[in-house]
Symmetry: C3
Subunit: 170 residues, 3 copies
C-alpha cells in the first residue's frame, strides 16, 4: 500500500471511530436530559426528545390494576402537563435514569437502562417507581431522537425480563 | 483546496472533537470520584475537586427548617470532618451521583445531575437525601475543577425546578 | 522535525487517545450490561463478563451474620440460578449500577462504583442492598473482562471505606 492510501485509511478509520463515540455521547445526553426536563416542568423539551412519530409505551399500576399507555409526542406533553405529574413535581420528585447499555448500528441505536423515581412525601423521600427502559433511537437532522421508549415496571413479569435480556453484551 | 490543507483541516477537526470527548470524560471522572472520596473519609481529596476559590452552595433541612450553606474549599473539608458527616460514614452511607448532562464551552462547563444519599440504619438502608446538582466547572492547570456546585433538595420548590430547567437539551 | 514525522506523531497521538476512550466505553458497557443480564435471568451472559479465572468476591448479611463469598465463573452462574436470586427476579428486582470512576493503564483497568438493588415486595419497592464495587479488569482477545469484582456493603466498615478510598482522583 502506498503511503498516501495508508494515510487516507488511517484518517477514515479515526473519523469513523470518533463518530461512534460522539453518537454515544449524544445518546447519553438525550437520556440524561429527560429527568431534568420532566422534573422542571419543561414538558415541551421532554416531548422533543422523541421523533415526530415517536411513541412512549409504558405500563403503570393504578389501584393494583396494570394500565397500558401508548403515547404519541403530543400525548407525552399532555401527560406531563396533567394533574398527576404536576402534583408529583410540585411536591418534589426526581426521575433518575441510570447509565445505559448502548448499541449503535449506523443511524439506529438501542439503549437499555433502569429508571428510579423518588418522590417526596412530607419530610421523607420514598422510592415511587423502579422500571426497565428500552430506548429505540434514530439519527435525525436535529440529532439523535427516540422513536420509541418502552418502560416496564420491575414486577417480576416475563415481559420485563425479556426487555432486559435483549441488552446482553456477550 | 490543496491536499495538504485538506489534510491539515481533517487532522485539526479530529483533534478538536477528540478534545471535547476527553473533556467530558475528565468531568465525568471528577463527578464520579466525589462519592468515593466523601464516603471513604478522604476529605482533602473531596475538597480538591473544587478550584481554590470554589464554592459548595447547598441547602439542608434541619428540624423542618431549611438552612443555606455557602462553603469555601476549607469549609468543605471542615464539613466533611465534622461530626454529622463522620457519623454518617461510620454508620454506613453512599453518596451516589447519577449520570450528568454536560455542556462544554471551551474552558468552561456546566454539568447537571441528581444525587441520592443512602444511609444505613441498623440492618436496613434508607433514602436519606435526594437532590438536584448544578456543577459549574473550569479547566485549570491541574485539570477540570468545580468553581461552584449548587445542590438543592427535590422539595418541589421553584428554585430546584429552575436549576433543572437550565439543563434542557433542545 | 520534518512534516512527515510531525504528521506521523499527530496520527499516533490521535490513535492512542481514541483507543483510551474506546477502552473506557467498553468498560462502561460491561458494567452497564451486568444488571440487565442478572435481572433477566441470563446467568451465562452475566458470568461471561468475567475472565476464565475471574472471581466475584462479596459479603452478604444473612440473619445479621456476614457471610464471605469467593465465587469463580461457574460459581457465579450457579449463584444466579439458585433459589435466592431466582426468587428475587421473579418477584421483581433491579440490580442498578451507578456511573464508575475508571482508571485505565494499558491492558488493565480499575473501575469503582456503587450498586443499589431495589426489590419489589407486593405493591411497594424497597432498597434491598447498597454496596461499593471495585472492578479489576483486563483486556482479553474477546474484549474487556473482569478479573475480580469486590463488592462490600456500605456498612460503615473500614474495609468498605478503604475500597472507596482507592478511587480518589487527586
Amino acid at each position: 500500500m502506498s503511503n498516501e492510501s495508508s494515510l487516507e485509511n488511517r484518517l477514515r478509520n479515526l473519523e469513523e471511530r470518533l463518530k461512534l463515540l460522539e453518537d454515544e455521547r449524544a445518546i447519553r445526553q438525550l437520556i440524561n436530559s429527560y429527568g431534568p426536563a420532566v422534573d422542571s416542568g419543561n414538558s415541551a423539551a421532554a416531548a422533543d426528545l422523541w421523533t415526530d412519530n415517536g411513541v412512549y409505551d409504558y405500563k403503570m399500576s393504578v389501584n393494583e390494576q396494570v394500565v397500558a399507555q401508548q403515547l404519541d409526542k403530543q400525548g407525552i406533553a399532555d401527560m406531563l402537563e396533567a394533574r398527576l405529574h404536576q402534583t408529583l413535581i410540585h411536591e418534589g420528585a426526581a426521575h433518575t435514569l441510570g447509565p445505559a447499555y448502548i448499541e449503535i448500528r449506523g443511524d439506529k441505536a438501542i439503549a437499555t437502562n433502569y429508571s428510579v423515581i423518588f418522590r417526596r412525601i412530607g419530610m421523607s423521600v420514598t422510592v415511587y417507581r423502579v422500571a426497565a427502559n428500552r430506548w429505540e433511537l434514530s439519527r435525525t437532522a436535529a440529532g439523535w431522537r427516540a422513536d420509541k421508549r418502552v418502560n416496564r415496571l420491575l414486577d417480576g413479569s416475563a415481559e420485563t425480563r425479556e426487555l432486559l435480556a435483549a441488552a446482553t453484551m456477550v
